[in-house]
């Protein structure tokens, strides 16, 4: 690590070591130099003094020794003996002179072979200031030590030996010695520098070693904690931060451990939120997807079969609409509990090593999904699916009221039907869809052809909204004629869907699909609005009493908002009275006759006429007609079609008779032949509609027809 603490402290330590080392070195050198100078100077002085003293002693000793040896020779004037004695001294360059003189001061010997100074007075030869006397005497004059040593015979001094010794040589020696000392001191200084630098380098190396030690040992807990933090971040939940140490690292470890526990707790809560449905506490879609994914991998490896059961509550929407979402939610909770209990019971019957793998999840709304691993055969799954349908078929008691829903179950199998989670869920959904369409409280195994059917149905459901916005939906108008005069008295607005990919889609195909979705309301309103627009803008100017029929899906009658919505449209259009005919199917009105009657009454008051569409296919009971504000009946085309086969004439006759009796008008739909026309005409039918007169066609066609036709008086 470039900027690790160890590196920083290491650099600091190294710099400090080098700094202190250098300071010590400099101070050492400074004092050493001073000491060396002082020592050399003082030493030289002491040495000079010592050497001087020694020289004096030596000179005295030599003089004494010589004098004691010379007594006989001097006494007997044995010059050669004297010379032999003095010769050694005379030849020494440090000896300036050697003289022997008698008591009167006359020179006896001067050390030379020829005694040049013999007989001269000694005072002539000695330097000035040196007294001539017979006593022993030592004096330093200039560079010389002058020694006088009496030569005695008994107590009598009869001659004096005089020598002078220079200490020039000694001084030279001392100077050389001092120079040597200075040299040695320089060498010592250099040695100290080298040694100190070595020590500094050693210290630096130690500092480095210390840093290495620090980074290796002292900081290892930190690195361990860092490593643990990273691993924890990477997802290792079971990691332990506690270091079991009493120091600060230990405290840090404890703190991190506490933080980990806190994070783990938060994480588990978040996970619970992320992976569970807040309402039912069941696993949610995300968890189910992940678990299923894991299970598929496992099953793939072990050649095992997994079943996915897609459960959808039938009629749940109605509960929500009628009783409110709170009740709906409580119903969902109860449903979830029932399914969970079922699962617990069924877990025992499924031979699987991990019971938790029998997973129940809520995907959203009224959709639940169940994962069953290790299923042996379809019969076992069928049995479970049947039980699911059964447990949900019992009524739910919520706030003292009973609600009934049922369940449709779609089943898909791994690996038979699909290999991926998405695929399996989609297929289960499709199978569920198929089950729902085949009647409530059913279950279906996925079959490949379901795919296309359901997909196209689903596509239609999904696309209808876009179709309205993109203008793919159009209105076609099929004229309704007076059966006696053959005049066009009105038309039925029919929805046409020009799908950009699938081409024209028949209303019979898509409207039942849309009726199952919440799109039926906007679609109904769209149709009504457009029809009203065409009527007021194009048709009324041509035929002031034109009667335009618009189908109102029975599905929208359940929507409380429909009454006002249609009311508003009629009001906005400001239609003349009796020009708008609203057609409703028999069945849709029968579900809740009272509320339906109120709604129809309201519309009727706005000036709309109410017609029953496809009459005769529903309850076939006419009694309810009295309780509804109905203006007329449209006899279902199936009865007209049966006329050619010699059937249906009774039914048509009865309906027309009854309608006439009740003051209701009738329209016969699906008139395609003249014989059909005659039949209806003969039986007293009022109006007819069918290919014999005109096919459904765009507004322009209708307008053309109207323009061509002579104006008729209103009915």
């Amino acid at each position: 690590m470039k900027h690790s603490i160890a590196t920083r402290y290491g650099i600091l330590l190294a710099v400090m070591t080098a700094l202190v080392g250098c300071c010590v070195l400099l101070v050492n050198i400074f004092y050493l130099e001073r000491y060396a100078h002082a020592a050399i100077d003082e030493g030289q002085q002491h040495l000079t003094e010592a050497v001087e003293k020694q020289l004096i002693r030596d000179a005295q000793l030599v003089a004494e020794s010589l004098a004691s040896n010379l007594d006989a020779a001097v006494y007997s004037s044995d010059f050669s003996a004297i010379q032999e004695q003095l010769e050694a001294l005379s030849h020494n360059t440090n000896v300036a002179y050697t003289y022997i003189h008698d008591a009167s001061g006359r020179v006896i010997h001067d050390g030379s072979a020829e005694l040049h100074n013999f007989g001269r007075h000694i005072s002539e030869l000695l330097p000035p200031g040196l007294p001539v006397m017979l006593d022993a005497d030592t004096r330093k004059i200039g560079q010389y030590i002058h020694v006088a040593q009496p030569i005695r015979s008994g107590e009598t001094t009869f001659a004096v030996l005089r020598i002078a010794i220079t200490y020039t040589e000694a001084e030279t020696d001392i100077r050389e010695m001092s120079a040597d000392l200075a040299l040695q001191s320089r060498e010592l200084r250099n040695n100290i520098i080298v040694t100190s630098l070595s020590i500094i380098i050693l210290l630096l190396a130690s500092a480095m070693a210390l840093v290495f030690f620090l980074s290796q040992h002292l900081l290892s807990p930190i690195r361990r904690l860092v490593d643990h933090c990273r691993r924890y971040t990477a997802g290792e939940n079971q990691i332990r931060f506690k270091l079991e140490r009493a120091d600060e690292f230990g405290l840090l470890g404890d703190a991190l451990e506490e933080m980990k526990d806190s994070i783990n707790l938060s994480r588990s809560q978040v996970e619970r939120l992320a992976y569970h449905d807040a309402l039912t506490q069941l696993p949610n879609r995300r968890m189910f997807n992940e678990e299923l994914n894991k299970m598929l991998s496992w099953a793939d490896r072990h050649n095992n079969q997994v079943a996915v059961l897609f459960i959808d509550l039938d009629h749940f929407k109605r509960v929500n609409d009628v009783a409110g979402h709170e009740v709906g939610d409580k119903l969902l909770i109860q449903a979830a509990n029932r399914l969970t209990n079922l699962l617990v019971t069924e877990a025992e019957s499924i031979d699987f090593p991990v019971p938790e793998s029998l997973l129940l999840a809520r995907l959203g709304g009224d959709e639940f999904v169940m994962m069953l691993p290790n299923c042996k055969d379809r019969s076992q799954i069928s049995r479970i699916a049947t039980r699911i349908a059964d447990v949900l078929d019992h009524s739910f008691t919520i706030e003292d009221r009973r609600y009934t829903v049922s369940a449709s179950v779609g089943i898909t199998l791994f690996p038979e039907h699909g290999r991926s989670v998405t695929e399996l869920l989609k297929q289960a959904d499709i199978a569920m869809y198929a089950a729902k369409h085949s009647g409530r409280k059913r279950h279906r195994f996925f079959e490949p052809q379901m795919n296309n059917e359901v997909i196209s149905k689903m596509l239609i459901q999904q696309d209808v909204r876009d179709a309205m916005q993109r203008g793919e939906l159009k209105l076609a108008y099929q004229p309704i004629v007076d059966i006696v005069s053959n005049e066009i008295i009105g038309a039925e607005a029919l929805l046409r869907w020009e799908h950009p990919e699938q081409g024209p889609i028949a209303p019979d195909t898509f409207i039942p699909l849309i009726e199952k979705t919440d799109q039926i309301m906007p679609l109904t309103l769209w149709t009504l609005e457009h029809a009203c627009h065409d009527l007021i803008q194009q048709i009324i100017p041509r035929r002031s009493h034109f009667k335009l029929s618009v189908n109102i899906s029975g599905a929208v009658l359940r929507e409380p908002a429909i009454q006002d919505a249609i009311h508003n449209i009629i009001q906005r259009a400001q239609l003349p009275a009796h020009t708008l005919h609203l057609e409703l199917t028999e069945t849709s009105m029968m579900e809740n006759i009272q509320s339906c009657a109120d709604t129809l009454q309201a519309w009727k008051q706005m000036g709309a006429a109410i017609w029953i569409d496809d009459f005769g296919t529903g309850y076939s009971s006419l009694s309810y007609l009295h309780s509804l504000p109905i203006d007329g009946l449209k006899i279902d085309r199936s009865f007209i079609a049966e006329l050619d086969q010699g059937q249906g004439d009774q039914v048509i006759e009865t309906i027309i008779t009854m309608a006439n009796a009740m003051g209701l008008k009738t329209v016969c739909e699906g008139i395609e032949t003249e014989s059909q026309q005659h039949f209806v005409h003969n039986r007293g039918g009022d109006y007819a509609q069918g290919y014999l007169y005109a096919k459904p066609a765009p507004l322009k066609q209708l307008l053309k027809l109207l323009d061509k036709e002579t104006l008729y008086e209103p009915l």
């Binding site: 007997s76 044995d78 010059f79 050669s80 003996a81 020829e114 005694l115 013999f118």
Partner: protein
């Protein structure tokens, strides 16, 4: 002084030990001897000749040679007498004593210090006014030492022949006899010269060899001195043998020495006291030796 005494003792010890050793092999070892007050120098001078002689006298049974130095003449005499010393090389006075007191036999004359013969010179300081031997009455004359032929025996003999009687005084400080020539010993030629030059004494005696040698008598000094008497020439030195040495061996030695010339053995001879050759004796030599001995016997000191 002390050193010299010690050296002398050391030499004595060496000599004694060699004597003990040689007692058994007297026949084989030839001993060469001399009086010496400078044993170190003299040993060096004699040793090569002794070695050479030993190497060349094998035919007469001599296989080794030794050098012995004596500080006193009496000791030498005793040794020669006993036959402990076979061969002596000395100046005429010592030779005379040895011949007469130790029965030594003169063998050859030796041209020592490159002199075949030498003279004694009696000299005074020029300032002294002393011009002949007669002027020396009551004066002092310095001789070298009492073993010296040229600087004691001969000058004394000369003085006495010239009618002077001599009075020995111990030192320069001693009282002198005004009717005699007072003589004293200067111990060596250097003192002799300086005493005269520095006027401690009135006269001195040196041989002509020393006089001619500027190292011994520097010209500066010489110019201030006056020679007042020159003696006859005398043999410079003599080779003697003990009478105990067999005639055969003596003859062999004589023949060997005579065979050496400066040309044939220049280096060896030169080391042998700067000898330039040997000369057979003439009849005057015994006479001279007898005269020297007889005269010296009359001297009391």
């Amino acid at each position: 002084m002390l050193y010299r005494r010690r050296m002398r003792n050391l030499i004595r010890m060496i000599c004694l030990s060699t004597l003990l050793v040689t007692a058994h092999a007297a026949a084989e070892t030839l001993v060469l001897a001399q009086l010496s007050d400078r044993p170190k120098k003299d040993f060096k001078q004699l040793r090569p000749m002794a070695k050479y002689v030993a190497q060349h006298l094998g035919h007469v049974g001599i296989t080794r040679a030794e050098v012995r130095l004596f500080s006193e003449l009496d000791e030498l005499i005793e040794a020669v007498k006993k036959g402990e010393v076979h061969w002596v090389t000395e100046t005429p006075y010592s030779a005379a004593v040895l011949v007469h007191e130790a029965d030594a036999i003169p063998l050859l004359m030796k041209w020592k210090s490159r002199q075949q013969r030498y003279q004694t010179l009696i000299y005074t300081h020029k300032d002294s006014g002393l011009r002949n031997l007669a002027d020396l009455t009551g004066k002092r004359i310095a001789f070298e030492h009492n073993n010296s032929f040229s600087s004691y025996y001969l000058p004394r003999m000369i003085l006495e022949k010239h009618g002077q009687s001599l009075n020995f005084i111990h030192s320069l400080h001693a009282a002198r006899d005004s009717n005699k020539v007072n003589h004293l010993f200067s111990r060596n030629e250097k003192n002799n010269l300086l005493w005269v030059h520095k006027r401690l004494v009135e006269a001195g005696a040196l041989n002509d060899g020393d006089w001619q040698n500027p190292d011994r008598v520097p010209d500066a000094l010489k110019s201030e001195l006056r020679i007042i008497y020159r003696s006859e020439p005398y043999p410079r030195a003599l080779e003697l043998v003990s009478s105990k040495l067999s005639a055969e061996r003596a003859a062999a030695l004589k023949a060997l020495l005579l065979g050496m010339t400066s040309d044939s053995h220049g280096k060896l001879l030169s080391r042998y006291e700067q000898t330039s050759g040997f000369e057979t004796l003439n009849e005057d030599v015994p006479k001279l030796l007898a005269e020297i001995y007889n005269n010296s016997r009359n001297w009391s000191e």
